[in-house]
Symmetry: C2
Subunit: 365 residues, 2 copies
């Protein structure tokens, strides 16, 4: 069979097994879905209405230029239309990015334990990953700078706020990283959780640089994970390359219509963000009450340090899954001493609290 060598060498494992697959394996449904950093508070009712309306028009392809949506995003950020490219989730945009940048063997620098789907697309296009460790459970900007200046990779990945730790850096630190990007390197700034971050953590949207690409999504605070719509913004001459390879008709009418409606309903977003902050505080209290350490979070989830090694955290996680609460954990040491729990409604957090207590009792036996 004529598959290329790099594909034949790829593993069949995937970054994230879906909760549906776990349910099929466990033979029971989850009663709380707190593992994928989705927003249980859902999208704005106006978004649902816009998508239902678009469903009826879905005999027609969506606008391949995403004119209305890109205009709305550009207005929202105070940048120009040409500085925005829309795609099928940040994951889809990462697939395109690695396609247009990488040659087999090219180096890519990221943090050890950072977003696995970025790594997945890098290796899928023949890139070679080079890792720096987290420091104090945060991405280590100094280490990233040192490593990228030594390796001069094609891409450097940095998430702010970060997944899976929930940590963040202030805008000045991010700017320091931007300033240090060497010639021939692009900085991939993953801002999936930006709507949940303190304003002080985000460089101004119109601080565009030719060697920085910033990725944002409607999957998190806007509550549209199942819709698949995200965007990248940056200097026009940089983002233009996406148009040469993207799946032009790939963003559905429902996604385009829904995302425009989401941007128009900023009151709903503010309300959801407030609810997420309250639920996040409560999640931290649940962890503390159980004798565990919740990490500070600027996202819609909390990483909880289970205080021992990866095997222990894995036992805690399995006990929680067995009690029909879906959560996840980082896959890589030393972050794998944590479990990662998405915020939920009160009843879901009650269920998680009970499952955590029972699972910890089991895991300590």
């Amino acid at each position: 069979m004529p598959f290329n060598a790099r594909t034949l060498a790829l593993p069949t494992t995937i970054p994230f097994v879906g909760p549906e697959a776990l349910e099929r394996r466990l033979g029971r449904p989850f009663l709380a879905r707190l593992g994928a950093n989705e927003s249980v508070f859902g999208p704005s009712p106006k978004v649902v209405e816009a998508m239902s309306r678009a469903a009826r028009d879905s005999w027609a392809y969506g606008d391949p230029e995403h004119h209305a949506l890109r205009s709305a995003i550009a207005d929202h950020l105070g940048i120009r239309f040409e500085e925005v490219v829309v795609g099928e989730g940040i994951d889809g945009l990462f697939g395109l990015l690695t396609q247009i940048v990488l040659e087999p063997g090219d180096a890519v620098v990221t943090s050890h334990g950072a977003y696995p789907t970025f790594n997945y697309h890098v290796t899928g296009h023949g890139g070679v990953l080079d890792f720096v460790p987290y420091r104090d459970d945060r991405e280590d900007i100094d280490a990233l700078i040192e490593r990228m200046q030594a390796v001069r990779p094609k891409l450097v990945y940095f998430a702010n706020p970060d997944n899976p730790t929930g940590s963040w850096h202030e805008a000045d630190a991010v700017r320091r990283l931007m300033d240090a990007v060497p010639e021939g390197t692009l900085l991939v700034l993953d801002e999936a959780y930006s709507d949940l971050a303190p304003a002080s953590a985000l460089p101004a949207a119109d601080e565009l640089r030719p060697n920085v690409l910033r990725f944002r999504t409607f999957s998190k605070a806007y509550g549209m994970a199942g819709v698949r719509v995200a965007y990248v913004f940056g200097a026009a001459e940089t983002v233009a390359h996406f148009h040469k390879v993207r799946n032009h008709f790939g963003v559905s009418r429902m996604a385009q219509g829904g995302a425009v409606a989401a941007l128009e309903d900023q009151a709903y977003l503010s309300d959801v963000v407030a609810r997420i902050v309250r639920a996040r505080d409560r999640l931290g209290q649940i962890a503390s009450s159980a004798g565990l350490r919740p990490l500070p979070s600027a996202t819609n989830f909390v990483a909880i340090d289970c205080g021992r090694d990866g095997a222990h955290a894995r036992r805690v996680l399995e006990g929680i899954l067995d009690r029909q609460v879906f959560i996840r954990m980082p896959g890589v040491a030393p972050l794998d001493r944590m479990i990662r729990v998405t915020v939920g409604r009160d009843d879901e957090l009650d269920r998680f609290a009970a499952a955590l207590t029972a699972s910890l009792a089991d895991a300590s036996d």
Copy 2:
């Protein structure tokens, strides 16, 4: 900037400019949208209902294994779950296919004037296209066999029924092509229009071969072009490679729910197919009445031979666009003496007929 050489060499032109972009350029809306081979008859009302329901659940990612949809497709075709992979339209699947097969410089054989988006993904991954001409306005199976045996390309593309001509070959001829695929080559059998083809044109779905991939979509007869959902089926060990690189969460909840509902409503599909056949006959009559030759079609569109050269057909097309009817034409000689018109409702076909008559009068001046 660190973009790879093959991307820097890619053109900024794209395979299809959307009708929305033409409307923005012309400054007026189209009154009939007959250019993108969408189904003006739309999806089943049950599909719209399923998608609206899924819109409310779209805070959650869709099942990345597409379990319900792949099961439904497998049942529908009489094949196994493992033999089906779902993706974001056939275009999206072509992007993945070229990613997993091609190395820069690899040869790919297709027909000169066949589906441009396949070519787009080939060149986007560094492949080099090698063309055989159409013969008598149909893909030339003998020429494809001869060429692939001489070139031994990684991929051979064959659409049945064909776009942009609407022509088709019988299953026996397709099998002859399958039998001739050399070692190290994959046959890409694009069956986007299969639901509109005579049964005699389609090899049985369970005739799986390790070196043949068959692509089908919900965009055409099922009326779901704006939803983005399609699938590839073939031998399990062949299609498995898509899982190593695909965007696992890329098919929306609305797409998955809608496609399952579409498969369940075969009565609606039969009704739409009958409506398309009637409209196609009428479109042929409109062409004949105008003194032009409609090509036989097994699709939801009719290619109309304008009887002179590409410049003439282009003038006819422009005159029709000016009259607010959106149609397209093949981009490559000798097929570019045709215009390509999607079937429409009666009022849309009336509008096209009037625009055609007027445009022909102008073009003959």
